[in-house]
Symmetry: C2
Subunit: 483 residues, 2 copies
């Protein structure tokens, strides 16, 4: 292989706007975020990606604890009989369960499921632990891994057969308290994702057909990918008393009367990482919001083999910027140009170049990863300028993503127009009837679009006609292609 | 059931010194640390225990990062063919592997092992990732769950079929660098366990027979339980080039010569929690070192139903002590005596009692969980006194545990005497030959004692005779019963 070919292979060879899927895959692998393994659909989160997940975890966990949630750890394996107790739930998950049938050389009497989610094993214990109103609320959370053996084509981060997440499982004496928790949780997720990941999303309720298996209703954050497909972020599910009845979770209220409990579940998963990588990154590689990047700055000394002062200045600056965990790239076997490309591929938010001419003027050059903007800065102003650029970059990424999202939203009251807009990669708000049959027809006629989420405001539906059935519509709902 | 019986059942009904195993089990369940599930050997870490694990994790993780270790996340499932590459390794783990054979309704072409440890899946990637000396050292770590389906009787925390741990996997260009990492890692574990958990342990090397499957040598921290049994804490394994050869992990050195890498692995697991609970706790329940306890103080107002000033003062103190995450127990349906028992069972380090007489003297009463000592303290000195008591309690627990450990260590040069001392629940340092056969005979003649660890100093072995074979001994080694 020639040197030229090798160089090409290290960078991304397709354009985001021309072939999003191939671009995305190359981005993830070549930037060193993740790698494939011998087990199809199960990926390695390399340190670059895992450090990001740790930041999300830490930020959410702090907020969960603030509102009184406690962390716990339930077993990975669930007996088949426990999984089968809630009928909707088991039908939703059984086709994707990884089954343990043997341990060592011994066949098990009962198969064990690797948790696809932990309702089945947690709620058996809840039923045992909860006796009286004094035991409520019970608000638990786990950070763990789950396995869902989807047979659709796996996609790095978006659809993997194992993923990491939190699963909150909370139990209340009244429906009112359970519903009140919803806004607490949704605000936490929205805040963390917006502030750290610079991702705007829209909360909306799923239709009956698209809700979580076993829930009364599901509300999720929705994000829009550059290919016009909507992808779901953190869900909040209100389960009502569905699981309480299936798993027999009852309590004696203050008057001594036995009642079923009210429950919620909620989660954020490593899928969010994929959404962030896909939305912010470009044809040069990864673009990370500064607040989520572990190393916010790379310092590249230029011509330092000839001039010792340059490297010692670079080291001095590196120490000054410790808070941003700078990387000082003093390799001698590669050119500055090669280094620029490499760190752009890996998504370091700011590059500092320091060469003989800069040094003579007591300056350095700062280059922004998001827009390539290059500015010369006096060394004495470095800290302030770095902070300003990082903050500006964080805001810029959010605004760009928000513009994309807003530009994708559209509205229509006829099927014909909706179909046209969906083809143009829009997400279209339409009046629709609450009916699984209507949703099936919608999917067929639009070449695979489905209902995404009910308009959170959902006003002015009176008098509107369902674009499929022509009957009075139940709600305004966004429809479009999804991941 | 009468009220009296009910009360008895809530506390621990056997004595630690009379029936350690039964006491230990009651301690864990009744204090609310953990619970059983429908899957035998797999336990729930309830919030009380999980919060402790989080503290250990956080303390270790900070130190790992300080020395340059990066976190990563490899898949849970390992193909059977990958697991079989290192022969010693697979023989060590295969009998305990939980096998996934089906996903949904489909039989897999190749069985997948739930990781019992991750060498097999990580080293396949290492072999792909590592090309040149520039890729080294590679120092990765994971915090995750593993499954080892042991057929021995499960014991809460000590021997569970799923447990949580960290697994460090590091790769170096030279043996020297790999060995140098040993003291870094061992110091981190020793420091965290000593300082947070108040547990003294002894590092010692395992004999050839007892080392990790695939390692060149294994060194572990060892702890001594009140029943005279030794239990192993965090291991450090040096793997030499064993796995490098099995998984073909090679690099080109600076001269362009291809070489196999040198590797280490190291871990700390939730087993450590069990060791801590068992060592410090007493017949009233859990005793936790203050530094590891989430809530360090419980405030119990007495007679507050009659005197409103008492509760308002208790609330005021609670706010002042926020840093210690105090619990204010203002339940009206239970007596102060009931509360004392409950919080003693749950291991809150300090109890503050505040009643009308105390308040009149501007005092409160502090009661220590470890020694039951009761002191009256002026309210104005509260913060200072609390800090003093917490610090003193932390030290006291360490010293007590150290005394137990030192009192268990003994020495002997004859088999007859060693057997006698082992019966007296001692751990006995004896001269022994490095031989699997000798260890088998030792086990037989002592009724199950085995080699625990080679004397770290291992001096003055010259001229000593093996207590089993009578031949020249290779080392001084501790022998005794283990968990």
């Amino acid at each position: 292989m020639s040197k030229k070919n090798k160089k090409l292979e290290e960078g991304i060879t397709v354009k985001k706007e021309e072939n999003f899927s191939e671009w995305y895959q190359q981005l993830i692998i070549k930037s060193g975020l993740a790698d494939y393994t011998a087990v199809s659909g199960c990926i390695i989160l390399k340190p670059l990606a895992y450090a990001i997940w740790e930041k999300i975890q830490k930020a959410c966990d702090k907020e969960f604890k603030r509102i009184g949630i406690k962390n716990t750890c339930f077993p990975l394996l669930i007996p088949e009989s426990a999984l089968k107790k809630e009928q909707e739930h088991v039908h939703g998950f059984a086709p994707e369960v990884a089954w343990v049938t043997h341990t060592g050389n011994t066949k098990l009497n009962e198969r064990l499921a690797i948790r696809p989610t932990s309702e089945a094993i947690m709620y058996e214990s809840f039923s045992k632990w909860i006796r009286s109103w004094r035991d409520l609320p019970l608000r638990l959370n786990q950070w763990n891994n789950v396995v869902r053996w989807e047979f659709k084509n796996p996609v790095l981060f978006f659809r993997t057969r194992e993923f990491l997440w939190n699963e909150g499982h909370t139990v209340f004496a009244t429906e009112k308290e359970a519903l009140a928790e919803g806004s607490q949780i949704k605000n936490i997720y929205k805040k963390v994702v917006e502030e750290l990941m610079a991702l705007p999303g829209i909360y909306g309720r799923k239709t009956e057909k698209e809700k979580f298996a076993g829930a009364v209703f599901s509300e999720k954050l929705h994000y829009c990918l550059p290919n016009g497909r909507v992808i779901e972020g953190p869900p909040f599910h209100h389960d009502g008393q569905n699981f309480a009845k299936a798993y027999n979770i009852k309590f004696k209220d203050e008057k001594g009367k036995e009642q079923y409990v009210w429950q919620n579940t909620w989660a954020i998963s490593t899928r969010m990482l994929g959404i962030m990588f896909a939305l912010h990154s470009d044809n040069k590689g990864l673009v990370l919001p500064p607040k989520i990047a572990e190393n916010k700055v790379v310092i590249i000394p230029i011509g330092f083999e000839k001039d010792k002062k340059i490297l010692s200045k670079a080291k001095e600056l590196s120490k000054k910027l410790t808070i941003h965990q700078p990387i000082l790239d003093d390799r001698t076997e590669t050119t500055p140009g090669y280094k620029f490309n490499e760190w752009e591929l890996k998504g370091i938010p700011l590059r500092i170049e320091i060469g003989p001419k800069d040094l003579a003027k007591k300056e350095i050059v700062i280059v922004r990863r998001d827009n390539g903007r290059k500015v010369s800065v006096k060394i004495k102003n470095l800290k302030k300028e770095i902070n300003r650029e990082l903050e500006d970059m964080q805001n810029n990424l959010f605004e760009k993503a928000d513009k994309l999202l807003q530009g994708t939203l559209d509205k229509s009251e006829t099927l014909k127009e909706a179909i046209k807009k969906i083809k143009e990669k829009k997400i279209v708000l339409v009046p629709l009837k609450n009916s699984a049959e209507v949703e099936e027809i919608l999917k067929e006629k639009t070449g695979g679009a489905k209902t995404l989420f009910i308009d959170p405001e959902n006003t002015q539906i009176k008098g509107k006609k369902c674009i499929i059935s022509g009957e009075p519509a139940d709600y305004w709902v966004y429809v479009g292609k999804s991941y």
